[in-house]
Symmetry: C2
Subunit: 162 residues, 2 copies
């Protein structure tokens, strides 16, 4: 990648216009969302950082996801995505928290097929929305689709909310 | 990226052979090291996750870097890289912690020129080593060089240590 991610450019620009900050909580994407955002020169004005909670245990230990919620819903679920987004927003003090959890493949996980991705978006004020994405293709395609969907969710919210 | 990163494949394989785990703490790379490691199918056996401490404040708040160390040395320094690596190893319970901090550019930061990168590697038992890398090229080239150097440092240590 020699150019900044165009979706990330739009997100960084929209956040800068609002004077707001962002944090990320990533599982299957393993840091790709943070990497996309920080591909943009000047991202440091709006991006604080985030958590890569790849192991399920770290979603609780670092990510602030309650262990009983994790046990009841599993790591690949709307409730876990929502708790990851809210957790990283709280842990970092950012205005927005975006989270991605799911199955990159090639193997299924806990009864979920590769391509099942859940996104969480914690907004200023604390409201959280979630989105399910069913991505096609191999491991890298699923991960790329998750990044694009997460940035798209954020961009839509930044454009819609005032 | 449609294939797993070859350096990351070697690191994941070496960790799996040892039955050891890894965590990452990233500043200028913004998640790219975690993304490279998790590009490898089966990475979940050895990679726990990590921290993206992009804002200097998060290096202390999430990353366990003492605020007086940060104030005395700045975020772009050997001591901060070492503290980030030790901090993420401690926070996650991983056997190995690898950290990268530096200036991606295009602008200098706190008197450091773009391309100055510091890596930290916390090993099983807790010993920490650091390495300075001077990377050439634009923002994305510096970030890619930092990822390659971090994975190389880890690979060397995994091959040398017994």
């Amino acid at each position: 990648m020699t150019l900044a991610d165009p979706q990330a450019v739009a997100v960084v620009q929209a956040l800068a216009e609002r004077g707001q900050t962002l944090a990320t909580a990533e599982s299957l994407t393993g840091g790709l969302i943070g990497a996309a955002v920080t591909s943009v020169p000047g991202a440091s004005a709006v991006y604080l950082g985030g958590l890569i909670t790849y192991a399920t245990d770290l979603k609780a230990r670092l990510g602030g996801v309650p262990t009983d919620l994790l046990a009841a819903n599993g790591p690949v679920s709307a409730k876990t995505a929502a708790a990851m987004a809210a957790g990283v927003r709280r842990a970092t003090g950012a205005d927005w928290g975006v989270a991605a959890t799911g199955v990159a493949g090639p193997d299924p996980q806990d009864g979920h097929l590769p391509g099942e991705v859940w996104l969480g978006l914690a907004q200023p004020g604390g409201a959280v929305r979630t989105l399910r994405v069913d991505a096609a293709g191999d491991r890298q395609a699923v991960r790329s689709a998750a990044v694009a969907a997460a940035l798209g969710l954020l961009e839509d919210a930044l454009t819609a909310e005032s």
